[in-house]
């Protein structure tokens, strides 16, 4: 269940665009410092913009009000209307007007889900932001249809295919898993073949017992079977062999590949638990990993954030909003809290 709150009566995209333009315009006029209101100026991003502190919060609040409490379709219309009305790209204007973690959260949020995921995967294939985990997370927690939309968005944006970039920028056993995972188009029905579940649970158990963790058959099962089928297989594994598969994959806690396999299984079978764990580590860690926090909140707010919040509360005895409020501040905190369902829409 989504955590996003949308007002009962949503303004038209034209009204929303006008509001955003106003929020930016006020900043723009005031930064010139050309009237009596001028109180205090600060330099920003090394250029000669000058901002009035007093005007700052108000406008960002307006941006949050307009952009955050809108669903993907509504944000898309706002971007289109904004471009048609003012001849400018809303994302570029946002980039100019805000900065830091707040900027990244707003930009990621404003993108449609497929574009956002395409961008996240693309970043995850780049040297400085390389991350097998993020590629895997997107490949395993999105629906087949949504993952295909990401692949289409990737074509449009990067003029290459996802599997092409992932295969090129990853290596070894991780590549052997990641390429089929990002290329998969799993069947999404509930039908389960119990005979197959039994035979494949046996295969998985044999391979894991032999420590053949990168075996082709194990990869085939994890990367091609429907989530329902996989669930049946893993339940049978648990019943038949006495341990959950993830327990059997925990023989060496320092082995990164084994951790990766366990996370794949978690993403495929209980994504809300996987995301709870990401948030837990992000928040508990020494310093907060804002990029991860932003990624999870912006990508799940319209999907299953309510379930993630439940899991978080259950596992940490603290509500997620309090944990986030304790670890973040300012407009960044405000946008995250709004996305996880705080305040009025």
């Amino acid at each position: 269940m989504a955590s996003l709150k949308i007002p009962a009566s949503v303004p038209s995209p034209a009204e929303d665009s006008e509001q955003l333009r106003k929020a930016f315009a006020v900043l723009f006029v005031r930064t010139r410092g050309s009237n009596g209101e001028f109180l205090m100026s600060i330099g920003r991003n090394g250029n000669d913009h000058h901002l009035i502190f007093a005007g700052w919060g108000t406008n960002e609040a307006l941006v949050i009000k307009v952009l955050v409490h809108r669903n993907a379709e509504q944000r898309k219309l706002i971007r289109e209307t904004y471009a048609a009305t003012f001849g400018k790209d809303l994302l570029k204007d946002l980039e100019r007007e805000v900065s830091g973690d707040f900027e990244r959260a707003l930009l990621l949020w404003t993108l449609c889900p497929a574009e956002r995921d395409a961008l996240l995967v693309n970043e995850a294939t780049k040297m400085l932001t390389a991350s097998n985990w993020i590629i895997m997370e997107i490949a395993c927690t999105r629906s087949s249809h949504d993952l295909f939309m990401v692949r289409q968005a990737y074509h449009s944006r990067y003029k290459r295919s996802i599997e092409e970039d992932v295969a090129y920028h990853t290596t070894g056993d991780f590549r052997k898993l990641l390429v089929p995972l990002v290329s998969s188009f799993r069947y999404e029905g509930d039908e389960v073949n119990m005979t197959l579940a039994k035979s494949e649970a046996k295969i998985l158990h044999e391979k894991i017992s032999d420590k053949a963790y990168n075996d082709e058959e194990l990869i085939r099962i994890l990367s091609t079977r429907s989530k329902s089928q996989l669930n049946a297989t893993l339940n049978h594994y648990n019943n038949q062999f006495g341990n959950s598969i993830n327990k059997d994959l925990k023989t060496d806690p320092t082995n990164e590949y084994l951790t990766f396999l366990r996370r794949i299984i978690k993403c495929l079978t209980c994504p809300e638990k996987y995301f709870e764990k990401v948030l837990r580590y992000v928040i508990k860690g020494l310093g907060t990993d804002e990029r991860a926090l932003t990624r999870v909140v912006t990508t799940r707010a319209e999907v299953d954030m309510e379930r993630i919040k439940e899991e978080y509360q259950r596992r940490n005895s603290v509500p997620l909003d309090r944990a986030i409020a304790g670890d973040t501040s300012g407009d960044y905190e405000k946008v995250l809290l709004a996305l996880i369902g705080h305040g009025d829409a």
Copy 2:
């Protein structure tokens, strides 16, 4: 360019359905042998249908006239209208009314391209009709969009994914190639990165020189790069190393895997030449391989059959229609010739 001929003025789907029903109805009434026209009866398919020879050809001609000279969209409408009007599945009625090679050609043709390819791939994963070649042909000669439509049709029809069945039913080096090929969603633009083309031509040359034909990098390049990019890479290969890649892959003519690699390259870079060769072998062989002939004609008639005909004429000094007419007969011959552009629409 398609070879299919469609009449300048196409009857409505309702008229076409009515014509088909008439064609079947005549057969049906006459098979009962209940009127004075009864001349001669034959048993068919072990059931007690009795057919009048005299009425047979006429009706099949009508079926060909109505179904063969219609494009995919028109055939889809005919099937829908037929089902809505008569409460029956046109494909099932066809199956009952005709038989043999003619039946298979008509059924495959009547399906929409995505359903037809899904069926062909599914057959190719089954024990008795297993064929790595057919799976590869479909994966490599369809556009990215069309291949994705096949994957969707496969979900609907078989309640599993293509990659799931292909991965399950194939083994070894063939599986390593086939799974990424059927899962690919290649970028389709013309943009080419020449630096990459050079570096990947070098990789391919190294792997082939080392006889590392199943190397991961070689598979990655063939299964993920766009067709334009691959073309640039292979051109560079040819210029830089003095041989075409397919010449270098011909070191052992009895090695089935090497033949497979050469065909993949042909399918990806010049499908019309690949299909010409399939037709040449099908027709020249001892006895005709009707399944292959039917597959190529029904799947290419709406795509590039005119180019294939040109290639065939150039390579064999005989027009394809004459070659097909020499190797087939009856209604089967008629449907094939109609599909490759013979006669009036």
